[in-house]
Amino acid sequence: MDIEKYKIPQISVFIENKKGRFYNTTNAMREAGVNIRAMSLADTMDFGILRFVVDKPKEAYDALIESDFIVKKNDIMAIAIDDECGGLSKLLKVVSDLDLNVEYMYTFVNSLDKRAVMLFKFEDIDSAIQKLSDSNINLLDQEYFNRI
């Protein structure tokens, strides 16, 4: 199978817990014509990490660098589950049985096709893609994020 196809580029941004910084990040992407599909904000004592999945990862990355943000690009996985009671629980059972190590995860619900999308950062993405795909889990590719 084509493992690379299921790697979703994610943009992580370092932001200080200061007024206006979150806005400046989103504004930089707006000006670059980038649409945010999913995001999460993790905060530590001193600073925050903003993570985005977008329709145009390269443009988003360049725009943020241009605005002097500290940005990292890395790959995560996107998995679609049915938006119904027990949907996530079913998926996590598989993840747990396969002994995959999760660094963090976040989610969004696509109301158009009645599915929820789980975004996972696994310690070892290659093996996670292989194993989850073998277990018939519904993996999404970047195309999906350009389309919706």
């Binding site: 992580s12 370092f14 001193d46 600073f47 990292k72």
Partner: protein, 424 residues
């Protein structure tokens, strides 16, 4: 000159200066009378130790011209220190003093490799501060083409260096870094677009790690030099091409290293406060000026062949020594630790606060792609490593904190490294 020749000359000039000050400066006449000091009793350099120190307070108490040995008619230039509190320290120069000064600055410039073929960009502030004019006249003496750009407007500075083909840069070390960083942001390739070879940097303490960063960023060799307005200005000491300590102009100055608490000279090679006695000044021949700079002196032969003693880069000042939870810490020690960690940017600031009855020290470090990890676990490990290295080097807890790039104020003069919010 051999050590013997140097000391013979110093003694001769010292004896002459004591007489001269006694005759011309009421302040020193009173002081010498009080201590029973007479020029004829000075038989060796050791006798210098009987003369009381001169301090910044002596300058303040005699503000503005009370320590001058000549009348104002002979004074052709006035400078003053950037003293942040109280009255500034005022110094004056006769024509002959300016001549001596230019020669000594020319000497340090030549030791760093500057010639009359060079185009020198001076980004020190001109004005009362001795740095700008001091370097300016010394470099003219060498015959270099001097561009008196002064401070401010970094983009314009870079444009001037590019257009005029500057080969030598004169400024503070922190401003040199800022220029490098700005050039990079403007998309200027320092190796292709600029012709800089030599940096004559001074007026604030800096570490060897910082030197490496400046040399990388600007594609030049950075030389340190030392001086202070009270004893003349820049030109007291400067590095040769060996970059292994600054040669002191011992034919014009006697230097001592003392224990700042007891005032007693330390053993050769030990750290202590630098005390300087200028020997050839007409307007302001002072004795044993306490510089408050902490350094040490080496008298062994330098690779370059010069026999004048060398002083290390000052590791700090007696008055910017921080006492954090009872431990003496110099900002330069913190800098050494930070810069030894791969990827840390050279901009930092130390914040001191009170947490109840205890001191709390935080170091703000600007984040960059090398220091920021998407995974929290790796981020924490990295921050823990910085904290552990600070702890092992300094013996106290200092917490590093990442801040956004460019959020630490850039300085065009001396960098502001410490914010002390403690109230005692």
């Amino acid at each position: 000159m051999t050590r013997d020749d140097i000391e013979k000359l110093q003694l001769e000039l010292l004896v002459r200066n004591i007489d001269y000050a006694y005759e011309n400066i009421p302040f020193y006449r009173d002081r010498f009378d009080e201590k029973g000091i007479k020029a004829k009793d000075i038989k060796s350099l050791k006798d210098l130790q009987n003369i009381p120190f001169t301090t910044k307070d002596d300058f303040r108490n005699n503000y503005p011209f009370g320590l001058f040995a000549t009348d104002m008619k002979k004074i052709v230039r006035i400078h003053a220190s950037s003293g942040t509190t109280g009255k500034p320290t005022v110094v004056g120069y006769t024509k002959k003093d300016l001549e001596t000064w230019s020669n000594l600055v020319a000497r340090i410039a030549v030791a760093a490799g500057v010639t009359d073929n060079d185009i020198v960009h001076i980004a020190f502030g001109y004005g009362l501060f001795t740095g700008g004019f001091g370097l300016h006249y010394g470099l003219e003496k060498v015959g270099a083409s001097v561009v008196p750009a002064s401070s401010g407007n970094t983009k314009r500075q870079i444009m001037l260096m590019q257009d005029y083909g500057a080969t030598v840069l004169v400024c503070t070390p922190s401003y040199a870094l800022h220029i490098g960083e700005t050039a990079q942001k403007l998309g200027i390739d320092v190796h292709k677009d600029l012709k800089l070879k030599i940096g004559l940097l001074g007026a604030e303490p800096w570490s060897n790690q910082m030197r490496k960063k400046i040399e990388e960023r600007l594609g030049l060799k950075a030389y340190d030099n030392y001086g202070l307005s009270e004893v003349m200005g820049p030109g007291v000491a400067g590095e040769c091409e060996a970059q292994d300590g600054m040669h002191i102009a011992e034919d014009n100055f006697i230097v001592e290293i003392i224990n700042p608490e007891t005032g007693i000279p330390v053993e050769d090679g030990e750290y202590g406060e630098l005390v300087v006695t200028p020997l050839t000044k007409e307007a302001l021949p002072i004795f044993r000026y306490r510089t408050r700079d902490i350094t040490r002196i080496k008298k062994d032969r330098c690779l370059c062949g010069r026999t004048f003693a060398r002083m290390d880069k000052p590791i700090g000042r007696t008055d910017d020594m921080l006492i954090i939870r009872g431990v003496n810490v110099f900002p330069s020690q913190i800098e050494e630790v930070l810069f030894s960690i791969e990827g840390i940017s050279p901009h930092y600031q130390i914040i001191l606060e009170r947490d109840g009855a205890l001191d709390k020290a935080t170091i703000l470090v600007e984040a960059n792609a090398n220091l920021f990890f998407d995974e929290m676990k790796k981020q924490r490990q990295f921050m823990d490593r910085i904290n552990a290295e600070l702890k092992s080097a300094l013996g106290i807890e200092i917490t590093a904190k990442l801040v956004e790039p460019y959020s630490i104020e850039r300085s065009e003069g001396k960098a502001k490294r410490i914010i002390d919010k403690r109230k005692f």
